[in-house]
Subunit: 129 residues, 6 copies
């Protein structure tokens, strides 16, 4: 498959999961300097890995909550809470993953993840989401 086609497919999926405006802001923020990284993200991460059959994206999102909380990357965790909601995860389902995080990564990781998840829920409620 051509990487330009992967890029387009991935960018479309990112826009669907996180909102076209938010994705554009993230891409603009890194400008020319970040273009090769955006290629990695659009073509390889979303155009290839996230676009594979074999697992519903809701399940991918639940795994992503655990992964991004575990690696201590709060900005990325925030992005994937939004993606989880877009993929149909409920607040209760998000919480169950974060309780696993408390047990397997320690309570500090889970406290921070709870705080961010709650901010996303409130921001979406405020937006009528």
């Amino acid at each position: 498959m051509d990487t330009a086609a992967l890029y387009e497919r991935g960018l479309e999926l990112r826009r669907k999961l996180f909102g076209a405006d938010a994705v554009q802001r993230r891409m603009d923020a890194l400008g020319e300097f970040g273009a090769p990284l955006q290629h990695v993200i659009n073509a390889y991460v979303y155009g290839d890995v996230w676009s594979r059959p074999g697992l519903p994206n809701k399940s991918r999102s639940l795994a992503m909550l655990g992964i991004t909380a575990a690696i201590n990357r709060p900005q990325e965790f925030r992005v994937h809470v939004r993606g989880a909601i877009a993929n149909g995860c409920t607040q209760d389902e998000v919480r169950e993953v974060l309780l696993l995080v408390a047990m397997y990564c320690g309570v500090p990781a889970s406290i921070e993840a709870h705080r961010i998840a709650l901010e996303v829920f409130q921001e979406q409620a405020a937006a009528g989401g």
Copy 2:
């Protein structure tokens, strides 16, 4: 709820997920010294968190694969590949989580997780599992 009841409920769930023999071996290995930690694992991790409604255990297992690969704890990852199979995850589903791990935790984390998952699959095939 009494913590003794939580302990029993959790121990029963562990046995169902990982096999009674394997759990007994793991508990015996740490002996008297490890008794308080086994209490944490049986009562709090499995008797409370894993026993909550709100998420099917198959989804918990998929998240656990991502979490234990991300935190770089290969022994624990191995345990949770077995749990994932007991909870009905297919090899394809396991692999999809490990491809997310490659993208979000880096390829070395995913290479090691692939190697361990494959060993578990082969061991279960050899056991007629």
Copy 3:
């Protein structure tokens, strides 16, 4: 032991270590969504593990400074500097642990821990603490 009793015992200890107001703010911040995690923290972390005999809480606090600096969770490190002071640790004792952190976790972990510890010392001095 009943988990409700563990919860009460742990909540009381948290209030003693970190101040009743600070604990209430932290619990309120996560609301209903965070109630199961607060149960983990109050009943299991403080009601069980921190309430065990076998180690003076001052020694627990010194270990906690090392642990929370090592896991790169600055908010939690800040909480445990306050707890260390409440448990009778001096500024010199805090610093000795942070110099071990420099050697075993690398200087960047120690620089950040120094900065936060100093903020807590100054905040407590300003409060007449």
Copy 4:
């Protein structure tokens, strides 16, 4: 660019850096299950990122020693010591990076990296390398 061409270019580079036999063994070890991950490694990691102009591969190798020591992945560190030698790094240059690792990641990370690097040097000396 077509991903099949990226894959071929990356596989060729991997063989050059790590030896055709070693790469084949690593690919065989993960079999069918690991084919999508090998695609990520060959096409994206080596066919794209490592094949970019803009930095000599010797400099990439020196950075890789620091990265793989820092992320606590000893198998991958070992692979990249071999790659560093293939890219022209001397033992002294390898050591200088590992002394930075001692200072910025802590001495335990550097002790383990020293041990592995020394094993690779001895293995290559034994092979007349």
Copy 5:
């Protein structure tokens, strides 16, 4: 060698790499409490390790970008982007290391590192740097 001489040599090198004002601010920020840590940094990190022959400081800087991105210490990464520029690294060279970070530490580590690197580039352009 006397540690006071190491300290002076290291402090001089830090000033050359990061600017005398920035180093002074960092040292003042930690005051008396931080004096032993500053001794570690000046005498051991810069006076010894960074002052060794055997690797050009430009190569050290490229490795440091990978190391500080990998260990998830954004403040320290920012410092070492400045050091990399002072040691003659170009923006393209910085980027190549950050693309390795994406592949070996995961894309979230690289996104954050890109964002910080870009801020440093813009701050230096604004200062006529």
Copy 6:
């Protein structure tokens, strides 16, 4: 202070904590290649940081158990269990720190630390220690 004097003081302390034979084996294992790292360990880690007044070495050891378990370096954790015993820590005190590790770093970190601590206890019992 002269770094050669720091080195001698640190080497003497290492021998006292871990046994002269064990230290010699560790130093021999890394040979000429590891001499600069051994200088860091002997002069800076043990000759300076561990030799400072301000904290009893028993307290340092308890903090070290938490730190080395948290950073996921099992070989180093093993060394510091031996050091903790030499510094007068009891098995119960070691266990209390490892239960904190379970809560703040997650149960997998604590399971591995329990396993290693128990091996050290048994090895010392076998040696009549």
